[in-house]
Symmetry: C2
């Protein structure tokens, strides 16, 4: 049988992730595998922790990539913190907020939600009012809601949560490396992300960070973490300290890729990276306007890296996406859940956010409409 | 700062995994990332399922790689099957049996264990006697106990378990691709493995397979799987059927690597692969004998791919391992748990199992002793 890998068509990834990968990251992943306890590999692990703290703007010692994709990061956040009966508030305005509710509920938490219209942000005044009446162990929110393209006001919400004593969990899967993420200034206790969005690395790892306060809750648990694979109290003994204790075999080559991706983001400089995302967003917005395509989200809440746009009336949205993929080798995303058939999601994440890519998409889209 | 990846020293991986990776697998992982819903990528996913069924010798429809390392496979097996109060019997003769006990216990199972001396196999007659007295929902065992180098009699145990109605879970992390794995003939209901042992792919994925009987237990659960990330009832909707529903973003490039690794194992042919492992084991055994090093396990229970050997009296075992790594760029493994300081573990897994590698290790070991 023919080898399918010989016929992969390089594709411009302009959906909600994965995004285009730096050539240097592909090369990094193809470097020789080392043992997971090899002292040189441990040096690479230590360097990754420092890189992650820099991009997250945190001083948290417990900062490391989990051995799963972004959703494993969400699972890690809640499975390590939640004990049966803990009260959790999830702020929802899209698919990933819903997922957070599901994840926390499965773990035995008492979950309340505040739901906001999809395509609009979580409103701090509503949250403030609610927090006056009810107290929680954990409050969770999505920074960049990938299903709608909305940027949530995580700083304002963080200021509110900090006054209550609750732990503050922020999903930064789509934000990290695309817009500023300042974990410590947000009073954020648990942050998690993914590699396949604005970090321009293939999917497979989930960077997470736990504050001292979150770590304290983990250490004071009355019951073991009901998930051996994601138990940070064990995993930290592999990622920290002088003697590294084997837990599971780390995904060595994926970690090479992450190291390289972070190295490139930091070499470009975070301010320059954010500026590039913003400029490419403006370039795309102008081009879409010329095509008569409008945004689903109000300007002040738009994510530069994830552009949710309304499908023009009378357009067969799936046919356009298929033609973009088959004829022009460009992938864009469909809507999820209640937004299926209503929006496209155009990603400008990380290495994808380049003028030539924006122009290539606009030209192709023009032909397809 | 210098890029650490530029100075990775290619290392001959002769520990308990990861093993040496085929050059073609590195190249596969560096192929362009596709979207996780790209129809061409779905063809690759479908091909991987067929490849996995072939190496596992199963007809199970639900056969796919989980997005985590081998230990995530163990977690997947138990988190999908166990409901609170389920009775589980774990047959233990090493670290990974112990881990199985821990994983199942954390999920609320009532866990009984039968423990056998480390370095010796699980004894079917003891299991038979025990199963006359007690009934279980699940019985778990490790096929190739990586911590001791023992091959357990999984066929004999499977014949016993099949008579009881319990589900039979077999850990094949270190066996798959190294010695025969015949899931259906074992009456095995859940099998899981890893990529970084005898499949010669970097760590990062865990192939699993569920029988119809195991799937039925999953479908009849009274409670949701308490782990969203590993919930097979959701994941199967991404890996099966005509409409693929997004669950989490699959680790695309790792899957390219697995596809390529399986392609190479199947091109060589499973009988030839097993013969090569056995021959390399004999070559190593003869060389070690000449050096006065003896095996920890009786000949009839030895795994060809994982050779546990007794450290000669008076030898500083850590110093020898360090010298092998630093001077000869060869990694071998230390003992785990109660066997730390007592044994070395020499892996001959997958692509590592070549005469030139065995000879290189023997020559280096001779200089170090």
């Amino acid at each position: 049988m023919a080898n399918l890998l010989d016929h992969i068509q390089p594709t411009l990834l302009m959906g909600p992730g994965p995004s285009c990968v730096y050539q240097e990251v592909y090369a990094a992943m193809a470097k020789p595998t080392l043992g997971h306890l090899d002292p040189y590999f441990i040096r690479i692990m230590d360097a990754i922790k420092v890189q992650l703290r820099t991009v997250m703007n945190t001083k948290n010692e417990l900062t490391l990539p989990m051995s799963g994709t972004g959703s494993a990061g969400m699972e890690t956040a809640f499975v390590n913190l939640v004990e049966k009966g803990d009260r959790v508030l999830v702020l929802i305005n899209g698919v990933f907020g819903k997922r957070m509710q599901d994840v926390a509920s499965r773990l035995g938490a008492e979950v309340d939600v505040l739901e906001f219209e999809w395509g609009t942000p979580v409103l701090p005044e509503v949250v403030a009012e609610h927090l006056k009446k009810s107290s929680y162990d954990i409050v969770g929110i999505i920074h960049a809601e990938t299903s709608t393209g909305v940027r949530n006001p995580v700083q304002e919400i963080g200021d509110l949560v900090a006054k209550t004593g609750a732990l503050y969990v922020v999903d930064c899967v789509t934000s990290l490396g695309g817009i500023p993420v300042t974990m410590d200034s947000w009073h954020c206790d648990v942050l998690y992300s993914g590699t396949q969005k604005c970090l321009s690395c293939p999917p497979g790892l989930s960077p997470v960070s736990f504050s001292d306060k979150a770590l304290e809750k983990l250490k004071k648990r009355k019951t073991k973490v009901p998930n051996w694979y994601l138990d940070l109290s064990l995993i930290m003994n592999y990622w920290e300290g002088h003697t590294r204790a084997y837990h599971h075999t780390a995904p060595i080559n994926m970690l090479y890729g992450l190291y390289q991706a972070l190295d490139m983001v930091l070499a470009e400089g975070l301010p320059a990276v954010f500026k590039r995302h913003e400029e490419m967003h403006q370039l795309l917005a102008k081009g879409l306007e010329n095509l008569g395509i409008s945004f689903y989200v109000a300007p002040e809440y738009r994510l530069p890296q994830l552009n949710a746009v309304t499908i023009p009336a009378g357009v067969d949205e799936a046919a356009v996406r298929s033609r973009l993929l088959d004829e022009f080798h460009i992938e864009i995303g469909s809507g999820l859940g209640p937004l299926a058939g209503k929006i496209w999601r155009i990603g400008l994440m990380g290495h994808t956010a380049r003028p030539e890519n924006v122009e290539r998409l606009l030209a192709a889209l023009k032909k397809c409409l």
